[in-house]
Amino acid sequence: MEKRARLWIGFFSLLLSLLGLMVWNINAGSVHVSPAEILSVLLGRGGDNAIIVHSIRLPRILATALLGGALALSGFLLQTFFANPIAGPFILGISSGAKLVLSLTLIAFLSRGVAVGSVVLILASFFGAMLSMSFVLLISSKVKRMSLLIISGVMIGYICSAVTDFVITFADDANIINLHHWSLGSFSGITWGNVGVMTAVILPALIVAFLLSKPISAYQLGEVYAQNMGVNIRAFRAALILLSSVLSAAVTAFAGPISFVGVAAPHLMRSLFKTAKPIIMIPACFLGGAVFCLLCDLIARTAFAPTELSISSVTALFGAPVVILVMLRRQKENL
């Protein structure tokens, strides 16, 4: 029964923080919007700042929550796949791969004066994510050591980022200046159309991941046991790779590479719920990632307002210590 209580309290506090942060996020900023006004805007009664709330802050907040959730879930799936608690889309270089292909695509389109739609963005980003992922998979088939895998991932990330920087530097165009901002990671400038597309991608992925929680729980025990329990390992591994790539690709397409959420949020959820069971962890990670990103975005927007910090700097500030903590704990458990 104690377990059940922990479950209720955990999910309740996550939902409460999610709601609280959403309101706070609408409320705070260069223009202050009071909670009463937020309510009236949401109910469609209008207000002085209706446009700011409706077309700038609301989509941004929804996107932040969705993308944060997607990042955390992607991290959780990758950690399961590699049996490695500090795996994540950013650390393994998957976000950076997505960023690289995305930048190349954007430059190619923009230099011809063609506008780029959300779908193309996601496809390019997914292609890049898969590209990095195949490198990581190739390396993981050669080296079995956990730390080496992470180092290779970080290196792939650096290579992709370096190439992206070259490309952006030499592609001298007004539009491309914005690219530089995006390539650092940011939730700004998101439209309702973007929110629609990312929902259409992320929500199904979340549902599929949740439906896979049974084989994921088997896979957590190790491949040999999972197979004996009736899991089709090849199909399952492919599904896991696709899901985590789609999720991190969606995030990169709209907000650029965002660091450490994929590692920090699942870890915090594990500590909160004291379990690794996917049936709990999948919804928990999604909510936890949303809360984490909303908080970080709030700080990014308001800490040095009107200057906006890059979201990755804030997530790194909170997320990186968590990674160190996980490694230290692992060391102690001697695993």
């Binding site: 046991y225 009736g230 594990r270």
Partner: protein
């Protein structure tokens, strides 16, 4: 056709496409324990891993309950076959009970939620391995032996018809080794399960197996009942040991004999000599043993450890020829130890031998003898 529950036909096994063992033909019936024995690296685990589909077959087929396993779906196999392997099972933030309940996986619904029946089966399985006391603790924090028992419970609540175990007794102490094997025996008897496993402990393999398969030097060397397999000479060849090291009757092993001219003559019988033989072997002192009847328990050990063993046939009286040999040995040895305190009717020669040695001043009490060679090395 035999009534095999699982059998292999011309199975070739190995890693990365290179066959290690070819043309393996083994079969197990339900209600039977089949044990693989053989030296390290001979390929026991490779055979097991291939039979549970962890390794791809390099040739031939494995037939499980009448169907070729390669064509079966994972879910089908999971309801028939459970495994306990040497690979570490990762169990992050899981209690022992959580680990056991993963055995119910093939029976639960889409999301894997346990029903009351499932939970009951989990409790029964834990009770079977006497794991109630530690099942609630984190799996990562219990001892290796406790973990092994819960892994067996996990296999049991999977309700399989065959359980495959790779060296299941490796981490267990003597008591729990026996307990684990007794649980296997119970499963075989009560649930008509087939057991396929590999064991290192020859004595246990001899006692528990219905049939034994010997894997040696990349081939299946022999297959048969324990009575057929556990012959002194055969086991010694299988493991590449010197003659006399293995005793099939006890399933026991002796250390290497200390060679050289015998320095001590040990008069033993009825088990009284064995501790002295072993103590001298440890101290590196060559010795002779006598005069023993060939049905004496001391005789079996003396044959392995003594440089020279004087004996008479079972239940036969001592004869002059043996006495003459014994006297000669007593003369050549520096010391004589007599482990006997009573001498039966057929054993009067040994009393005579002791008395004669006493006259020569060669008799030493056992404790004095060990004082001469304290520690490890020879004096």
């Amino acid at each position: 056709m035999d009534t095999w529950y699982i059998h292999t036909e011309h199975m070739d096994v190995g890693y990365d496409g290179t066959p290690l063992i070819r043309d393996i033909e083994i079969g197990i019936r339900r209600g039977e324990i089949l044990t693989l024995i053989g030296p390290n690296g001979s390929g026991k685990s490779t055979i097991l891993k291939s039979m549970i589909r962890q390794l791809k077959l390099l040739g031939g087929v494995v037939v499980l309950d009448g169907q070729a396993m390669a064509a079966m779906r994972e879910g089908e196999i999971a309801k028939k076959m459970a495994i306990v392997m040497t690979e570490r099972l990762r169990a992050e933030l899981m209690t022992g009970e959580d680990v056991v309940s993963t055995g119910r996986y093939p029976y639960t619904g889409r999301l894997g939620i346990l029903t009351a029946t499932d939970k009951q089966k989990v409790r029964e399985a834990i009770a079977l391995v006497h794991g109630e006391d530690f099942a609630h603790r984190p799996f990562a924090q219990i001892s290796d032996g406790q973990r092994q028992r819960l892994l067996l419970a996990r296999a049991v609540c999977q309700e399989p018809e065959i359980i495959v175990l790779d060296e299941p007794t490796s981490f267990l102490d003597v008591k729990h080794k026996l307990e684990l094997l007794e649980i296997l025996k119970t499963l075989v008897r009560e649930k008509n399960v087939a057991i396929l496993m590999s064991l290192h402990e020859l004595d246990l393999a001899q006692k528990i197996s219905d049939r034994v398969v010997c894997v040696a030097d990349h081939s299946v060397d022999r297959c048969g009942t324990p009575e057929e397999i556990f012959q002194n000479q055969y086991i010694e060849t299988l493991y590449g040991m010197d003659e006399g090291r293995y005793n099939a009757l006890f399933g026991s092993l002796e250390m290497a004999r200390v060679d050289g001219l015998p320095r001590v003559f040990v008069i033993g019988g009825g088990g009284s000599g064995i501790p002295v033989y072993r103590a001298l072997q440890r101290r590196g002192v060559p010795f002779a043993a006598g005069v023993l009847a060939e049905n004496d328990v001391d005789y079996l050990v003396a044959k392995a450890l003594a440089v020279q063993t004087l004996s008479v046939p079972a239940f036969a009286p001592m004869n002059e020829a043996v006495m003459a040999e014994a006297r000669a040995l007593v003369c050549r040895c520096e010391h004589v130890v007599c482990c006997l305190t009573a001498f039966g009717e057929l054993n009067q020669c040994n009393r005579l031998l002791r008395d004669e040695a006493a006259v020569r001043g060669k008799i030493l009490p056992v404790r004095r003898l060990f004082d001469l060679w304290t520690g490890g090395g020879p004096a």
